[in-house]
Chain length 261, copies 2
């Protein structure tokens, strides 16, 4: 817990000092790191309260304000959720008002919740060997075990999204079509409760494409209907990629909504 890591105790050569940034890291960043450890290690699980600011301040031997700033940043990254009067909680995908946090598709009028719950139909779930492409996205080696899932999401009875998912075989050992079919709720919530994998952020690449015959079938659109192709890589703590997802979105009744600021 050193405020100035590059102090006398750790001699640094002149060239080092010039090459690498001094890497000064404020106390609250170090506290943030410690809290992050607690989250990764599973000491505090999604949905649970973490200790109060005063307790954490005592544990880490810093002032409440320093803990506060660390928690502020983690809350800003949606890893923690503060609730005045109640405490600070580990964020989870299992809550109503954050169900569709990573799904930016909206009906042209109203919002997703107004369309009622999504119907999820699992088409397929099988073990496979990672193609070079999948391996690269998931930071695996080509040929490593992966799970592939295909499903259709419908809103108000209309098939709207066709998705293919690839998951690393290790962390998701034991996942079957049965799991997915029986579980009603967001997939990321299931990942949390059943496999201890919490998705924290994601990157999406979006393109306009034309569907092939099979895809037309699943989405019940005519060939030649342009669709949105959404390729997502989702990450857990530590920037570890844990899911590759390729979605085809209908955009005749819905649109992808994005807020820029």
């Amino acid at each position: 817990m050193n405020t100035t890591p590059a102090s006398a105790e750790t001699p640094v050569s002149l060239s080092d000092a010039l090459a690498a940034t001094p890497a000064f890291s404020p106390l609250y960043q170090q506290i943030k790191g410690l809290i992050l450890q607690g989250l990764q290690s599973g000491e505090w699980k999604p949905g649970e309260v973490i200790p109060s600011e005063m307790e954490l301040a005592a544990r880490y031997r810093v002032s409440q304000g320093t803990v506060r700033k660390a928690i502020d940043e983690l809350a800003g990254e949606h890893l923690l959720v503060r609730r005045q009067g109640k405490g600070t909680f580990v964020a989870t995908h299992s809550e109503q008002h954050v169900q569709y946090r990573f799904l930016k598709l909206q009906p042209d009028s109203g919002d997703l919740t107004s369309e009622g719950p999504a119907q999820r139909e699992i088409i397929d779930c099988k073990r496979q060997r990672a193609s070079s492409e999948v391996a690269r996205a998931l930071a695996l080696r080509t040929g490593d075990a992966v799970l592939q899932v295909r499903r259709v999401l419908s809103f108000s009875g209309q098939p709207t999204i066709l998705e293919d998912l690839w998951l690393p075989g290790g962390p998701f050992k034991g996942l079957t079509a049965d799991h997915l079919t029986k579980y009603h709720g967001p997939m990321y919530a299931l990942f949390e409760t059943e496999f201890g994998v919490r998705m924290v952020r994601a990157e999406e690449k979006i393109r306009a494409v034309l569907p092939d015959a099979a895809q037309c079938q699943w989405l019940q659109v005519t060939p030649g209907t342009p669709l949105l192709s959404v390729e997502r890589v989702a990450y857990t703590y530590n920037d570890t990629p844990m899911e590759l997802r390729r979605g085809l979105y209908r955009t005749d009744t819905h649109h992808y909504h994005n807020h820029l600021s």
Copy 2:
């Protein structure tokens, strides 16, 4: 500057108290509002420094910490930019590293800056009367004066984006094709310097579409090539809509990149 607005001075009926939220607003939020006023009124212009935290604290008769928290939020919304040792500056679209802040299109390999500067070709710029649709988006009345601009953006010589813009006639009085053609740089930078209009945030609706014959010409694609349709409404301070923009993006060599967190 009242910490508890619903105090004895302003009697509130029981029904009011139950209906409307108490609307307690912390001091730093009020300071934030005052700074925002300074930005809107043009007291501090894009690119300029605002007074130091100590000065503002003295002016508003609060502690430095309170000003700090206000500025923190404004910096988080990208209205201000803090530079240690130098001061706090009004954000601007005229800087290299934030040039494409609202443009999420990326080449499939590398980034936009690696492709060199964008070539901007103004196709058209004319005064018009707002259609009901345009009027609604810009919070005008149908028939009000608007400017319509059409242009093509090319990267590495390849036409990639075809855009139509609608701007309210009032704030942009005097804008001509000449302005746009002669100005080399981001359009939002020109809006700042020439018309005092700073774009602060935007909303985008994205769909997959098929281009018509004219659009194919401009983008040099064959009919039947699916394109990304990006409809953007951009806002100044105060959530005032100031631009409606409809873009068609080629996504065979580029993709729309989005970060979810």
